[in-house]
Amino acid sequence: MFEGIAGVAKGLGTTLKVFFRKKNTITYPAHKKQRSARYHGRHELRTYENGLEMCVGCELCQVACPANVITVLAAENDPNNPHSPGERYGYKYQVDLLRCIFCGMCEDACPTDCLHLTQDFELATWTREESILQKDRLVNRKPSGFKVPMNVYPPFEGRKVVKA
């Protein structure tokens, strides 16, 4: 009987100890927990230091996506007004967040490190159309610390005309 009482008292002591401990409840949205560094959140297309987009419209992310979320249509760069330091750029870039499984395979597939999954997880919207992100919501114009790699992209001079 006395070990029963001792057990009961020990239980009471445990709860009393917890009563005075600092609680680890995070009062969202006043405080938000920090995500991990490689957290798979919303997609973004990064840009170089000089303002050019890193996306060359190679459509590898579209191929790699297991859920067929990404739609890319590539177009040729106008040499006077290039969007990207290469021959082509992605002129239509659409990510359907309703179908996305946030696996990160598109981020792994991108050869220019353009596509990046941020730590933004608050993706609720009022309509379905708002969840399908077009290029205007995806391109991130903030400086990303990436410089144009000159060994990859030689200076672009326009299409060479092949003499027939």
Binding site: V18, K23, N24, T27
Partner: protein, 325 residues
């Protein structure tokens, strides 16, 4: 004659409003304290520290649809929560919360309190039966059997206190404990204190004896079919019953409004209030720690452990009083 009647009605109204206010506060305190014990914050959204949560609860209950079963006995269905709430509230008439502050102090105040408190069981019984559902019937029958078994043990434990004080009036029992801190009855009536404490837990159907409303087993027990304010009345009745029992424990065993001599600058009402708060805290502490007892073990605990213990306590007290007093 008329002025005394009006004065009595005013006092009764003030008491009723004060107790209902205390219920609302207890609702919030219970949720916060239970949360803190369980390593989480309780309600935090509704006001700073969640203080407006009871208002939100009351508004929610008032706006809910009042559903009555088709087969339910209409009169008794509506009557049961009223009985539960009314009897619990009327027991506050005889509880003195300070010297001379009782609304009425009959010579047999303790007996009156126990009698009115026992009437509250009708609310549970009739409520469960009137709903005409399997779960509620089972729940209410269990609850009734549990409550009447533990009433016996409670009564027998209380006789020990009556013998020690030599009177059935609650005020006299408290005054008989005014001998510093070692005059309080919990020390002299240790088995009786244990019995009364356990019986109070079982009376108010709190863990570990809360099988009547075990949410995981009987859906809601006797208050499954009650919605909106009817459920609110049952719930409030339960909380008032808890306040009753805490006040009784304080008055009978913890010395009521007596303090140590060097603390006598604190008004007696405040001391009483603090002691009742402490007892309620212990009730919540027990609720959050101990698992629920199985029903047959609960009944055997009440009949085979508490009742003999109370009888032994009574025997010892009677011998002591006969020989030394």
């Amino acid at each position: 004659m008329l002025t005394t009647l009006l004065w009595i009605i005013t006092k009764a109204l003030i008491l009723a409003i004060a107790i209902i206010g205390a219920c609302a506060v207890e609702l919030l305190i219970e949720r916060k304290v239970l949360g803190y014990f369980q390593y989480r914050l309780g309600p935090v959204r509704v006001g700073p520290w969640g203080v407006l949560q009871p208002i939100a609860d009351v508004v929610k209950m008032l706006f809910k649809e009042d559903i009555i079963n088709r087969e339910a006995d209409k009169i008794i269905f509506k009557l049961a929560p009223m009985i539960a709430f009314f009897t619990a509230l009327s027991a506050w008439v005889v509880i003195p919360w300070g010297p001379g502050y009782a609304m009425s102090d009959p010579n047999a105040g303790l007996l009156v309190f126990l009698a009115i408190g026992s009437l509250g069981i009708y609310g549970v019984t009739l409520g469960g039966w009137a709903s005409q559902t399997k779960y509620t019937l089972l729940g209410s029958m269990r609850a009734t059997a549990q409550m009447i078994s533990y009433e016996l043990a409670m009564g027998m434990a209380v006789i020990g206190v009556i013998l020690m004080a030599g009177s059935v009036s609650i005020t006299k029992i408290v005054e008989a404990q005014a001998v510093g801190i070692y005059g309080y009855n919990w020390l002299w009536q240790l088995p009786g204190f244990f019995v009364f404490f356990m019986a109070a837990l079982a009376e108010t159907a709190r863990t570990p004896f809360d099988l009547p409303e075990a949410e995981t087993e009987l859906v809601g027990g006797y208050n499954t079919e009650y919605a909106g304010m009817r459920f609110g009345l049952f719930f409030l009745g339960e909380i008032v019953h808890l306040l009753n029992m805490s006040a009784m424990i304080t008055l009978l065993y913890l010395g009521g409004w007596n303090t140590l001599p060097f603390l006598s600058f604190i008004p007696p009402v405040v001391t009483f209030f603090l002691k009742v708060c402490f007892v309620i805290f212990v009730f919540m502490w027990i609720r959050v720690t101990w698992p629920r007892m199985r029903y047959d073990r609960l009944m055997s605990f009440g009949w085979k452990v508490l009742l003999p213990l109370a009888a032994v306590n009574l025997l010892g007290t009677a011998i002591y009083v006969a020989m030394f007093a």
